[in-house]
């Protein structure tokens, strides 16, 4: 309990400091620390799957994304800042936010006891999916539709980021050009880590069926293993016009939908798996989806194609 209190206190202080920070770089650094503390909180809440996702995506990829944005904005003329609200307005907003937080806190205390839960039905139906990890069971069977739609959302986000390409940059290499670092610490990390990272990602994907882990965590690690050499200037992303790149990010959702529709034809319900086939089908979907999501997540971090980099 004391450990939890300390954790909560640290989390709130870091969040507050990040929100109030004067410099964007400081704010982002604190935000990454916030993400790591949040990861610990997820472990304390017995949500190891969420903790891994938070560490990989919430703190890791988001942190890289925001840090990269800070660096790029620092070299560019900063946009004229909007007029900040005056002191009276700020106070009013603060009071409103405090009131919402207080109401929310009160409501958390007022939630019904014993808490309504779907843990029992999940436990009762998990054997039908041949999976050992209940979270994977929910993601891939009971609420597989959400996962499917989410993979479509990630793909759509890539389309949106590409759609922001400035005039003349269409079809080019995504992201800002990274300075090449032949040696130095980053180059070392970019060479040494990916083989290990790929093994770890595969492991996390494979155990995800029965233990904490799964496609999102694995995909985030794989994405990082691509981003690292990219940031070190060792690899150049393929141009967005590349057909194979587009197929890679689309194939995961396509296979997922195809298997779902096959379930509708054979079993009479979309995303229903034939008895005995649940686990192999889920593993097939997870493997292909991991590849698609990993590339899509990396492309989201890499960003919009630049006119300067067209080749």
């Amino acid at each position: 309990m004391i450990a939890d209190l300390l954790l909560v206190a640290a989390m709130l202080i870091v969040a507050l400091a990040s929100m109030l920070a004067r410099q964007a770089f400081t704010a982002v650094a604190l935000f990454i620390a916030y993400g790591l503390l949040l990861t610990l909180a997820w472990v304390r809440l017995a949500a190891v799957d969420v903790a891994m996702t938070e560490a990989a995506i919430g703190a890791g990829l988001s942190g890289v994304l925001l840090l990269g944005a800070v660096r790029r904005l620092a070299t560019q003329a900063s946009p004229p800042p909007e007029q900040p609200p005056g002191p009276a307005m700020t106070l009013l907003i603060a009071l409103g936010c405090a009131a919402l937080a207080a109401a929310l806190g009160a409501v958390v205390l007022l939630l019904p006891n014993p808490a309504p839960s779907l843990a029992a039905p999940v436990a009762a139906n998990l054997p039908a999916t041949d999976l050992g990890n209940p979270v994977t069971g929910v993601l891939m069977s009971f609420r597989a539709l959400d996962t499917l739609l989410e993979s479509a959302v990630v793909l759509l986000a890539v389309v949106c980021v590409w759609a922001l390409t400035p005039e003349g940059g269409w079809g080019g290499v995504p992201g800002a050009a990274q300075p090449v670092q032949r040696d130095g610490p980053l180059a070392l990390l970019a060479r040494a880590l990916p083989p290990l990272g790929i093994v770890i990602a595969m492991h996390i994907l494979w155990v995800g069926a029965d233990a904490p882990g799964g496609k999102f965590q694995a995909a985030a690690i794989l994405a990082a293993m691509w981003l690292l050499p990219w940031m070190a200037g060792l690899v150049t992303p393929p141009p967005i016009a590349a057909r194979w790149l587009r197929w890679t990010i689309a194939i995961g959702p396509v296979v997922f939908i195809a298997i779902g529709l096959a379930g509708a034809v054979i079993e009479g319900a979309f995303l229903a798996y034939p008895p005995g086939w649940a686990k192999p089908l889920i593993l097939i979907i997870e493997f292909i989806l991991t590849a698609s999501i990993a590339v899509a997540l990396a492309l989201l971090v890499i960003g919009t194609p630049d006119t300067a980099q067209r080749r």
Partner: protein
């Protein structure tokens, strides 16, 4: 035997914690980025190493022990890469110091 192992674990982890606290104090109290980094990386790596060492006898089998060692190795590798980068950034920002 188990008593001995337990005592070893407790001692090693406690010693590791002492180094962590020392490192954190350094991070908070030292005046400039370079010495902060110094305190953080040196002390924390030793601290983490001690904790890993203390937990090794309790690991589930060989692959559990390997995983613990891998964690230590990965932390060493990543901070070896990140430390110089932060130092360089700090020097670029304040060339006077």
């Amino acid at each position: 035997m188990t008593l001995l192992v337990d005592a070893f674990t407790i001692l090693a982890v406690l010693a590791g914690l002492v180094f962590f606290i020392a490192g954190t104090t350094g991070l908070l109290r030292f005046p400039d980025t370079a010495s902060r980094l110094h305190a953080l990386t040196k002390a924390d790596h030793l601290g983490l190493g001690l904790i890993v060492l203390g937990l090794l006898p309790r690991a589930a089998g060989i692959d559990g022990a390997l995983r613990l060692l891998a964690i230590w190795g990965l932390v060493l590798l990543s901070s070896a890469a990140v430390g110089p980068m932060i130092a360089r950034l700090a020097r670029l920002r304040r060339p006077g110091e």
